[in-house]
Symmetry: C2
Subunit: 276 residues, 2 copies
């Protein structure tokens, strides 16, 4: 018998992957959590029926949500990840020697535990002494920690269910207040082929709050359409004014200082989304 997992990424389109076995299945307080072993992409974490990450392509998302902001800030010491319970963003953050403390604010502790058990390659840094794992509502955390962080990364699920509040203007304003006076934040902001309205709205919200707003892309095979966006808001430092020659080129598979600026050069239809 062949087992295939199909994610309907939209009502009319999806991806399908042959699976070797189901490793784990539970319903937590917040969502359905599934871990499956696929033949194409290795182990795959699925939340509420949506692919969150896979062993073989996770490097793209985790490197690209992290290193652009961390290489734009000249001296990031204190970093917050909202969501990101699999630990992939944390793993990338602590590659930066300046980082003294990385806080993970994940609302669903079961995602953290399941990731530690089944995705050790991704969750491997959660026990690092610089890392503070908190099972907490990220929105509450930012409101209780004003003027605290150099960099904040919003590593959320899709804008449905528990993550809706993570795409709201109030949340971006709260992040602004939780950042220090020269802080930077990055949020994952979905596909320009499928979520153009969301991208436009979020970009406009961030543009009204932060003096510098930028959008960049990365190619993630198991995410809807394969092209993904990240939106960056910055109080002081512009990622396009970084001196690439000064950036350290440590161990990565997707990010490199050579693409630090080029990922902001957008296909014309994506540029046009941002014009509102």
């Amino acid at each position: 018998m062949e087992l295939w997992y199909t994610e309907k990424q939209t009502e009319n389109y999806g991806i399908t992957a042959k699976i070797a076995k189901t490793l784990h299945k539970e319903t937590s307080e917040f969502q359905e959590i599934d871990m499956i072993e696929t033949l194409q992409w290795g182990r795959m974490l699925v939340l509420d029926g949506m692919v969150m990450t896979t062993i073989k392509d996770e490097f793209v998302y985790h490197e690209m949500i992290s290193h652009i902001a961390l290489h734009t800030h000249p001296n990031p010491k204190k970093v917050l990840v909202v969501g990101g319970g699999d630990g992939g963003a944390i793993r990338e953050i602590i590659k930066h020697p300046s980082v003294e403390k990385a806080v993970l604010a994940e609302i669903d502790g079961r995602v953290i535990e399941v990731s530690k058990q089944y995705l050790p390659e991704i969750a491997c840094a959660l026990g690092d002494p610089r890392v503070d794992v908190q099972v907490i509502d990220g929105i509450k955390h930012i409101h209780e920690n004003k003027n605290t962080y150099d960099v904040i990364l919003v590593d959320s699920t899709e804008p449905v269910g528990p993550a809706v509040g993570l795409f709201a203007r109030d949340f971006y304003q709260g992040i602004y207040e939780a950042l220090k006076e020269d802080g930077i934040f990055v949020a994952q902001t979905e596909s320009p082929f499928l979520n153009g309205d969301l991208i436009r709205r979020v970009y406009q919200d961030i543009s009204t709050i932060y003096p510098i707003a930028r959008l960049y892309t990365a190619s993630i095979p198991t995410y809807p359409s394969g092209l993904w966006t990240f939106t960056l808001g910055s109080k002081k430092y512009d990622p396009l004014e970084v001196d690439e020659a000064q950036l350290k080129d440590f161990e990565t598979k997707y990010y490199s200082p050579r693409i630090h600026k080029s990922v902001f050069q957008l296909p014309k239809f994506v540029e046009n989304l941002l014009k509102g």
Copy 2:
């Protein structure tokens, strides 16, 4: 009843699209030709079970196979497309006012006819007076036309079946001879996530034949992994030395002079493929 078309892009992975109806189905001398109406991507041309193009995302492939080379050559007059029976590359080529003649060498005349009937938005330029449509083996055509073309585009199907010869070193050598002394060629060369060995081999072949070899990428949702590569071989002009400010920004949806150089900035794992 819901009908879904699933393309297994690899043995273990694929895409699936809900279809409104099947518009056409035939077996030509060379391949199976299917035209279906999908709800997500509009009309979709499928050859031997592989998605070739769709109404909603075709702009990426057709603009990106064409404009990089045509904007790198300072005065392209005579252009050849090998394959490309849907006419999309031809439509883009004749946007360049310098082009006096665009030859389409498509081996399967039925692809041309089916595209004219069901994909008029894509095939619309095949009747242009500057366009010479030839139902002919592209390999034969290049051997019979030495020192003829300014730009040659290899718009092939996947490297199986009728297109195997279009990924061979001998073919790239033949193209070299069919180009004028300052000619440029571009071939579609598959996904870096799924076809790394092919990309490495083709890039090395092209590097040994052409003084300038370059690889660039574009995001195509309905192609395997969503990230696609194109390999460029040039006798004289380097796409990275073009003055972007001098390029005309005509009507496109993906290509713009602002991304002309940035698409050559590769994710690190793709850079590493090229190191051999």
